[in-house]
Subunit: 343 residues, 2 copies
Amino acid sequence: MLHVAEAARVSVATVSALINGTATVSPELSQRIEQAILDIGYKRNAIARSLKMGTTRTIGLTVPHITNPFFTDVVSVIQQAFDRAGYAVMLCCTDEDLNTQDDQIRLLLDRMVDGLIVARVGDGAILKRIVDDANVPVVLLDRVCEGVDTDSVVLDNQRAVFDAITYLIDLGHRRIGYISGSFDISPMHDRMTGYREALQAAGLPIESELVRFGNFHEVDGYNATMQLLSLHDRPSAIFSANNPMVIGTMKAIRDIGLSCPEDISVACFDDFPWSDVFQPQLTTVAQPVKAIGEQAANLLLDRLAGNRDAPPRKLTLKGRLMIRNSCRPLGAPMGAIVQSVSA
Amino acid sequence: MLHVAEAARVSVATVSALINGTATVSPELSQRIEQAILDIGYKRNAIARSLKMGTTRTIGLTVPHITNPFFTDVVSVIQQAFDRAGYAVMLCCTDEDLNTQDDQIRLLLDRMVDGLIVARVGDGAILKRIVDDANVPVVLLDRVCEGVDTDSVVLDNQRAVFDAITYLIDLGHRRIGYISGSFDISPMHDRMTGYREALQAAGLPIESELVRFGNFHEVDGYNATMQLLSLHDRPSAIFSANNPMVIGTMKAIRDIGLSCPEDISVACFDDFPWSDVFQPQLTTVAQPVKAIGEQAANLLLDRLAGNRDAPPRKLTLKGRLMIRNSCRPLGAPMGAIVQSVSA
DNA sequence: CATCATTTTCGAAACGTTTCATCGTCCTCT
DNA sequence: AGAGGACGATGAAACGTTTCGAAAATGATG
């Protein structure tokens, strides 16, 4: 900018005024400055600007795993929304690890991100403290925590799982295995509640041997399913509370020599783009990923636009049960299912 | 930092020296400073540091679509690698759009990213110019362009497709449909070459009606497949040169009332995590995504570590044909396949 | 004890912007 | 003609660091 000013024989203040339109500059000088900018190929340095202005037009986004299709889609939507608004997005993956998450959030705050969208991990206490003394708006995504009182957008997980389990019960299933992720994040807690309530509403017992915990990964789903399938009285259906884990479930079913849905019905949380193309077509709880991402982005953009003191807004969206052919009616003739498998 | 200095009754220079370890400071002052840092809760401002140092410890990463599983995985690996090295990653998705890409790269350079990893889109000319006068190291990912002479890591696309098509030919297929992405990026060009060469090597004609172009999206694969299947002499096999498009292919096959592999064999580029769980299990060309991401990260990290003048390093990795059950031998009894479908 | 070498500390400039108060200039109005 | 206003341009301070050369303190040496 100094060079531009010299070349145009004006002060840097004038160049800045012209570039930002913060003051009127005479046509004559404008022309000289614009020419100089072209000649020199000047580009404003965003870092210096950030330092002076106290804003970086950059936000931080942390998710547990970008390879989880749910987060892939949400990240994609959020990235697009901020791109449109002229913001850059710094992406971090916490790998479901608390320390990693804390480090990454600190890293982002050090870099003066203007806001944060966090699909948190673990206990909210540290997150709360970090966020409190960093003075940036935060939107919690997918996972809320009691202590932290900020904008958030989550799914009505309890209801969604309630509906899915009730669907299985209606099909005649009585022993329904449930594979949960770690219990310390809100969705897993709420989903489990939905499972229990659905059983209770149907007057079915809640048997702890039917509930298994994993750490969100495919291998966890595999191991949990192996355990469920080796019970002396094995479940006739399995619900997996997370998307990557259901892959493990399917692999376990295959490896043990059973097949879905003939021997065992399967449903899970989170839809796949290809779920209605391959067999079995999984019955899933689809989250409105697009809406979730856009709402989260809008909440943050609104804060960034200056609406700082509005009370926390907590959005809860509804999931949708996508009924396909991975769950079979118990006692019904196999024909209906088999026909659709080999169609 | 000023506050820390005052609280500890030292100069800012001393505080800086202690924090960075750039000079020895006496135990006494060290203690006072550390105490003050704790009392005040001081965090170094990375933006100011960046301005002074000319380095942000941030890199830019642009990919066409993060929802393409190939890029999802690569982004994930790259993000992890830079996280380990203490770098932040700014992620941009170009949506296969040239102008978007240029804008985003400029945005990243304005923010003084230390380096760039680019899975480019479109003609390399503009990219080359942008990159030339920004003085940051660039690694080209997946897609190279002739003009731009930088580090790169790509797949041996030609060979990979050659192998896949040859496999189909060996199964007895003679009319093999081919669905390509836009032709102006190197992998699509090379994959097409592999297709042609495989046909030629087998003495088969190259028929233009069997080749269709799409823009990488599911819907493009759908439309292309619809066209191929409505040819009066339809192909017995289809190869899709990209991953999202094959979903469209499968949907088209389903919608038209055919099934895979009984009526039509399908293979495609890029593996899915779930490809050996659901039916049909797709035969794919698997890219070594982990190696690709890590190599790209390493190339850039090496430049960032100071190795600036080394000649451009161009890495070419090998794909691997994952043979599953979505392609059937022509003329062979159906039994072998059907058995595995319903296994 | 004076001198010199070494270690520790510090003041100030610099990075590239933005912004604010000030200063000219030129009009317009009595 | 002098005063007051409007407008355009500018100099300088500030944002929060790092770094360099110089100053101060300390220790060693003759």
